[in-house]
Amino acid sequence: MIQVLANAICSGALLAVGAIGFGLVYFTTRHFHIAHGAVFTLGAYVALYVSYGFGFSVPLVSLSAMIVGFISGIAIERLLYAPLIRRKASNETVLLSSLGLYIVVANGIAIMAGDQNLMLRQVSQDPFQSFGVALTSIQVLQVVIAFVLIISLAAVLRFSRLGLALRAVTENPGLSVAHGLDLDRIRVIVLGSGSLLAGLAGCLAAIDTGVSPHIGLRAMLEASVCCLAVGSKSLLIQAAMAVTLMLLQGVTGWWFGVQWSSAATFLIVMVLLLRRAKRDPENRLG
């Protein structure tokens, strides 16, 4: 059981990186950003490409995935979302455009790289024993990266002017604009940063478990669960939700077999959503 908990913390850390990126975009723009999954996949395959093509080390591979993620995020905002927002398009329109982009990217990668699962084998997968649990170095790396990111991002949001602007837009976009905040600039920053994290999460997934072209949708769904099921804007709560989700998957897999883990996860999501809906007036119908 301690091993299950340790594994949950490690894979939860990986999920937390992607979830925080999704949350950054979702809570600021209110878009169900399905293209987050496309950037996740893109980050993973860029990592694979630069690692096998140019022999880059893990830090450089991660940096490449983050840069590509950041650029993709800005491109998504500028070329896909901004024209729709200028036209005052509904959230449904943005969601469907985002879905369209995900389909294009996932299938484009499938044509170029094939449908099989690919893994980045630069880091040793041999486990080492520590406090009675077996961990690999990439699992430890995931936890360290997630911890550093959450602390840094929380500090930026709490203490910087940019963080204050982001929180203001999250709370009341209309009033923020009235007070002179440049909403377009903030959207670019948010999409860029969120996608940077998605790219990094994709790279870590490629090192840890391997990736296939259609993995991004599941990654995006799990990230969205961490943000929407509880509905908290707190990074710590989103990270805790990520670990809980992975723990739940681990325990379900342990008891019933891994094939039931995703079903159990989404069953809990439904229960959480239902509990939340009864308290949240935004969701009430009639």
Partner: protein, 288 residues
């Protein structure tokens, strides 16, 4: 070209896209679990006809009831949700049902699926040839379209649209949004159930890969491309969904990557439609 097969698939997608049209085009809810109703009904029909020896029509009726029960469950949960959380809820249902279909091997056959499903029979007459089965599928789709066109002209549909456009105003006129959203899901499940039964009876084999979230995404993309809020939009969407891969096959584009190229074209079409024509090619309801 296998024309009877194309006609069957056109009938099936007309039913599926029209079913989603009730939820999105009239109800204003984006659902990503249409393949759940489609799959549940296909499996029910396959089990009843193959293992229990039922004939097609009673099996189709029971499949409709089973799909409606799933819709009732979804409806009773989703009446608390709107917007993005409704989307997440439908995705959750899709993932759960996909896992059940894949892993409950004693009932669904797991990854091997169910094979040897008998073709449809009407009043004791077996429809053995592909052309007969295509005729049966087209008749069912035509009946569905007639019913939907009656629905489109009814006060019932106007109440749906009123709730979609301005819920508070509709409520002030005594329309209960919970009831209408609930009934949209059940109606959609019934049309999808007919499509699921048709699929099982005409292909003779089903497996979980036909009812995944990708299928739900595909149906949504077809509706967005064809357009929603009327009867002809889903018909156009279904035609695009069926004829585009056939055209690609005819001009031999893609080879082994034809399925991916097809998906890319749908994805591009979705982006272009949302940017330049949110109504779709022939729809009434402007998503923007």
């Amino acid at each position: 070209m296998d024309f009877p097969h194309i006609l069957i698939m056109l009938a099936i997608y007309t039913l599926l896209v029209s079913a989603l049209n009730i939820v999105l085009g009239y109800g204003g809810m984006i659902s990503l679990c249409q393949a759940v109703f489609y799959g549940v009904s296909a499996y029910t029909t396959a089990i009843l006809t193959t293992w229990l020896g039922w004939s097609s029509i009673p099996a189709m009726l029971v499949s409709g009831i089973v799909a409606s029960v799933v819709a009732l469950i979804l409806g009773s949960i989703s009446m608390h949700f709107r917007g993005n959380r409704f989307v997440l809820l439908t995705i959750s249902l899709q993932v759960i049902v996909s896992a059940i279909v894949l892993n409950w091997t004693g009932v669904t056959g797991g990854t091997s699926g169910i094979s040897g499903i008998r073709g449809p029979s009407v009043f004791g007459f077996m429809l053995t040839t592909k052309w007969e089965q295509a005729g049966f599928a087209v008749v069912l789709a035509a009946i569905a379209l007639v019913l939907l066109s009656r629905f489109h002209d009814s006060p019932y549909q106007r109440a749906f649209s009123a709730i979609r456009e301005d819920q508070l105003a509709a409520q002030s006129l005594g329309k209960n949004p919970k009831y209408f959203r609930f009934s949209a899901l059940v109606l959609a499940s019934l049309f999808s159930a007919v499509a699921g039964s048709l699929y099982a009876l005409t292909t003779g084999f089903i497996d979980p890969t036909s009812f995944t979230i990708d299928e739900s995404v595909f149906i949504l993309a077809a509706l967005a491309i064809g357009g929603s809020g009327n009867v002809r939009g889903p018909l156009v969407g279904a035609a695009v969904a069926v004829f585009l891969p056939e055209t690609l096959r005819l001009i031999d584009i893609g080879g082994g990557s034809a399925a991916n190229i097809r998906q890319i074209l749908y994805g591009c079409a979705l982006i272009i439609m949302m940017r330049f024509r949110p109504k779709g090619l022939a729809g009434n309801y402007d998503l923007s």
